[in-house]
């Protein structure tokens, strides 16, 4: 979408042009004011004005020329890159499938690789792992690419740094993990964000090493101490793929875990569908912070299961004082034993919050025949109009009622 070359120079060029113009305008204004104030003839001012006009016109011509030539250059370059990308891809694949030394490659050993080659091998690393992946990583290391990335990630111009971090994220090199973790403390949020994602991606393919000094532990420490938005932490945890489970367990096992991280952990468990962690998650169902209670029930709902021990607190929470907790508890109640659930949900059909009414009705409809029958009853004869309306709405969405029947039920023409 965005070409990554030539834009830095263009920025510099425009900066220079506008800087110059600013100075020129300043000079012009000053001389004009001086001229008018002291009654000096307008000729010197005109001279400056002419100068500024000429310089502006030249700047215009310069920029225009740059852009037009960029067009040609970029067309050529794009074509060149496409060709070379193909060639490099074939070479890398050959290397990966048969081992080094075999294919008649065109890359001498120690010379730094062109960007195209690096991009190509990074794309391949996203597709293949195992022996072939390892061979590619060795090749990368052999050409010093990893060192090149690490150098730029640690100390480089912002855009170079971001490029390098992205590259490390794709390459997933185990020895890059610690440098990336170090970047979690960088001043710029964008660097921290990208480092978090890259670190998670790298950790995802590393073998689990237990112990307080293992990569998991270091990652957890870094996450706890870094100033990262919850959304970013969540992204990173999701990028951990199969390694997420043990890390989440450790996080939740820490009694001093910050509320924000606990919230993230609960969200992640739900999104990753880690059903074996349902009990661990459910423990937060009685947390003093309503956001965490809500997150717990949301998690259980996503997992589709509520452990025995958590059922009573859940049903109790359907009556929580905070409305959004009631909503999530009501949603999760669909996975509890039907009779108890219905007993807790029915009163919620006349809740003051639209969202709670909806969640209650929706969950009731999911509790099998018993539940649907309850909703039907409510649609027909509940004393509260809002409850009847919501019941009809839910039945419509569940295709139990046709639109015509719904209109009839609510008396709409």
């Amino acid at each position: 979408m965005w070409r990554r070359y030539g834009d830095a120079f263009y920025t510099l060029l425009t900066l220079a042009v506008f800087g110059f113009e600013t100075i020129a305008l300043g000079a012009l204004s000053l001389s004009f004011l001086l001229g008018k104030a002291t009654g000096i003839a307008s000729t010197p001012v005109e001279g400056i004005l002419l100068g500024v006009v000429i310089s502006t016109a030249s700047a215009l011509a310069l920029l225009g020329l740059y852009l037009l030539s960029y067009h040609f250059v970029s067309n050529l370059r794009d074509r060149w890159q496409a060709e070379h990308l193909d060639k490099w891809t074939e070479w890398w694949i050959g290397l990966a499938l048969t081992g080094p030394g075999e294919p008649a490659g065109h890359a001498p050993d120690r010379r730094p690789l062109p960007r195209v080659a690096v991009d190509s091998v990074l794309s391949l690393l996203e597709a293949v792992k195992g022996e072939e992946g390892d061979r590619l990583k060795e090749a990368l290391a052999g050409h010093g690419v990893d060192r090149w990335f690490l150098r730029r990630a640690r100390a480089g111009h912002l855009t170079a740094r971001l490029d390098a971090i992205e590259g490390l994220g794709k390459a997933r090199l185990p020895h890059a993990l610690d440098p990336l973790l170090g970047l979690f403390h960088h001043a710029r949020p964008v660097v921290r964000r990208m480092a978090a994602r890259a670190a998670a991606g790298t950790l995802a393919i590393m073998a689990p090493e237990p112990g307080p000094d293992g990569p998991h532990a270091r990652f957890i420490d870094a996450i706890k101490q870094a100033d990262l938005q919850p959304g970013v932490v969540q992204e990173s945890l999701l990028l951990l793929e199969t390694r997420a489970g043990p890390i989440l367990r450790e996080l939740l096992a820490d009694p001093e875990l910050s509320d924000s991280l606990r919230w993230v952990a609960l969200e992640t468990i739900g999104r990753l569908g880690l059903a074996d962690m349902a009990e661990l998650a459910a423990a937060s169902g009685t947390h003093p912070d309503p956001e965490l209670r809500a997150a717990t029930f949301r998690c259980l709902r996503r997992l589709g299961s509520v452990p025995e021990a958590a059922q009573a607190p859940l049903l109790g929470a359907v009556d929580d004082e905070v409305d959004f907790v009631r909503v999530q508890a009501a949603h999760a109640a669909a996975f509890v034993e039907p009779e108890a659930a219905l007993a807790a949900l029915e009163p919620r059909l006349e809740d003051s919050s639209w969202w709670v009414r909806r969640a209650a009705a929706a969950s009731m409809a999911r509790l099998g025949e018993l539940g649907v029958a309850s909703v039907r009853r409510a649609a027909e004869s509940h004393p509260e109009k809002a409850a009847r309306e919501m019941a009809v709405q839910i039945l419509l969405e569940a295709d139990v009622l046709t639109p015509a029947a719904a209109r009839l039920a609510t008396g709409v023409a």
């Binding site: 891809t89 694949i93 499938l97 794309s123 293949v128």
Partner: protein, 149 residues
């Protein structure tokens, strides 16, 4: 009785919008002896090619612009006759469990996440092809003699 074809004669169709992935799979298959491999980076061409090529196996990516893997499976389903067994192997970076479930119930016969292990993929392909050829043989054998074309 139909002579058992060699697995490596099988016609395999690779569909992925990333050129790199396509080339990778082609080379992997080539190295393992498969000679009849066709590939596409534009999923909208799949149905057209299917009629011409009649693949024995389709390697399909899920997330593609314009037309995703699910849409392709739907299109193929309406194309192939009910008693044809067309194995579709999904190769995707999407690790979400519900996507896997959805794909497997939408017509995919197997599911592999990227990055994949070469040996594993080849073994799965082999298994699917064996099943396919077995199916073809059984179908051929159960067609009454006089009606065999």
């Amino acid at each position: 009785m139909l002579p058992t074809p060699r697995l490596t004669d099988a016609r395999i169709l690779v569909v992925d919008d990333e050129r790199v992935n396509v080339v990778l799979l082609e080379r992997i298959l080539e190295q393992d002896g498969y000679r009849n491999v066709k590939s596409l980076t534009d999923p909208s061409e799949v149905v057209g090619l299917y009629d011409q090529f009649e693949p024995d196996l389709v390697l399909l990516d899920l997330h593609m612009p314009k037309l995703d893997g699910f849409a392709v499976m739907q299109q193929l389903e309406s194309r192939i006759s009910r008693d044809t067994f067309l194995p579709i192997l999904i190769l995707t970076a999407d690790i979400r469990p519900e996507i896997k479930r959805r794909a497997l119930s939408a017509g995919a016969k197997d599911f592999v996440t990227k990055p994949f292990d070469r040996t594993e993929v080849l073994l799965r392909i082999q298994n699917l092809l064996e099943t396919r050829f077995l199916h073809l043989r059984v179908r051929h054998d159960t067609v009454p003699e006089g009606q065999a074309t």
